[in-house]
Amino acid sequence: MNAIIALSLFGITNLFLGFLNNRKILLPATLLFVLIAFGLNLADWNHEYYWFHNMLKTNNLSINFTSIILVATALVVAISRGFGNDEEHTHPAEYYGILLFSVVGAIMMVTFQSLFMLFVGIEILSVAMYVLTGSDKRNLRSNEAALKYFLMGSFATGIMLFGIALVYGATGSFDINGIGNMVNQAKLQDIMLNPYGPILYGGIILIFVGLLFKISAAPFHFWTPDVYDGAPSIFTAFMSTVVKTAGVAATYRLLSISFPAVYGLWGNPLVYITCLTLFIGNITAVYQQSFKRMLAYSSISHAGYLLITVLAKTPTTNSSILFYSLAYSIATISAFAVLMVVSEAQSKSGKPDESFTALNGLATNNPFLAFVLTVSMLSLAGIPLTAGFFGKFFIFADAFSNVSSLFKTIAVVAILMSTVGIYYYFKPIIAAYLKKGDLEKIELSPIYKLTLIITTALTILLGIAPDLVKNIF
């Protein structure tokens, strides 16, 4: 877990780099830090290590999740453009530093062995995100979003902490394997037979409320549209990729290690939550006029897809989650990258225009951006020859391979909902290619362009040869 230590130190280093007069050094430095952490992370490949007195545990699965998180972070850093040229009101060194700190939290969420670490990780990640959400201090919506996020986030973490306490009460352990053993032995499946049953049930539900809040599953998704919409786009991109991946990884880790024996307790509630999430995410996205807000709802719906395979717990679930997270992350970052430059170029009276109409006529003068946007939208919609298609395909395959007929129903719901998804994912493409607009050519910095090329190429590559990475997972 040297990546955690390294990233913490790098975060501090970043804070001090801010005292240098040269702001340009921050982006490459942060990128370098993330890549170093990536290397350190891979160093533990094929080993199972316990860290910090059995508080964290790394194995190949957690390393894969960490890798995806770090890749997403690197891409987000690469498109951050040093947080603009506003000398007075932006604090790039702090933003980069906080970003690195939050990644530490995210990594703790995917490697936790003790519920303490889950809690600490979530808190590190969340507090960092509260700050970054409100970083656009002069924008009222950003402030509102930060406060909302903070209030609801602390509410959710409080609930989760209560859940952890209840689980401890029922099992006497914070260690996830220890909990798993206790749950196995104590025959807690039947609430009536064991006095600890209700406590355990309450604990599990409350912990998952906290986690589901983080991955914005309905009905705990209410913060998502408002916060995603209000936060600066670059941090929205970070939230919808890194935070989501970490949240799903944590949920999966906890479910698959601690509570598989009591599937009967939490299976049904989570199945309904999944269906509700898919429904709300996709249906509500249809009506949105703002591209950014649409992406927020889309991120809710993707949480739903991810939950399917988490619940289906087939032997291929590991690789399906990883593949989906990766495909979703790179496509989302592409989309936000295009949104950022376009909305700034279209800004009206200083405020970036984030509606679909801002994309009108994008293809005329910016064919490259339009192409990137198209590929990412197709991938999010799950059209073949993009990574997103195989992501969805693997997940639906998992659902169908589960013996329970309930999962076939979910898969059908999910497929129906993904057809609804096509409707709103094609809106930006239509705007870019078919509508008329007077957008001038947008100049992109080399690193920005390179990032877009990488994400787009990766999306297509994984759509053609998914086994390239699926074999690693």
Partner: protein
């Protein structure tokens, strides 16, 4: 040791007693105490100079900043106490860990200084 939920009963009794005592005393004082209102008595400050303006005036954010920083560093001190108590048993490992902890704290302090947070005039 295997606790049953019923073993926690004393705690509930304790909580109940504590709450009941507070509620009881508050209600009792309201009932029992004599009430005499006058303008001077209802004033914000019963003695001294007369108050001017609204109490909810905006205060410079620097106050809050300093207050938060104070709380932050003050709380960190709490970690020192258990360490000091167990100084010998923790040995060199504990010492090194505390040095790491303190240097991180120091780094934060230097950062705060360099940011000019404590520079009141700025």
């Amino acid at each position: 040791m295997n606790y049953q939920p019923s073993d926690y009963l004393p705690i509930i009794v304790q909580i109940g007693a504590a709450l009941a005592f507070i509620v009881l005393t508050m209600v009792a004082t309201h009932w029992l105490g004599p009430k005499r209102h006058s303008k001077a008595k209802d004033d914000v400050f019963e003695c001294g100079i007369e108050s001017v303006g609204n109490a909810r005036t905006p205060i410079s954010v620097k106050y809050f900043l300093v207050a938060i920083l104070f709380v932050l560093f003050d709380v960190e001190i709490i970690f020192m106490y258990p360490w000091a108590v167990n100084f010998k048993t923790l040995g060199w490992d504990g010492f090194l860990e505390m040095i790491v902890f303190m240097s991180l704290l120091l780094a934060g302090f230097i950062y705060v200084l360099k940011k000019g947070v404590l520079d009141w005039e700025k």
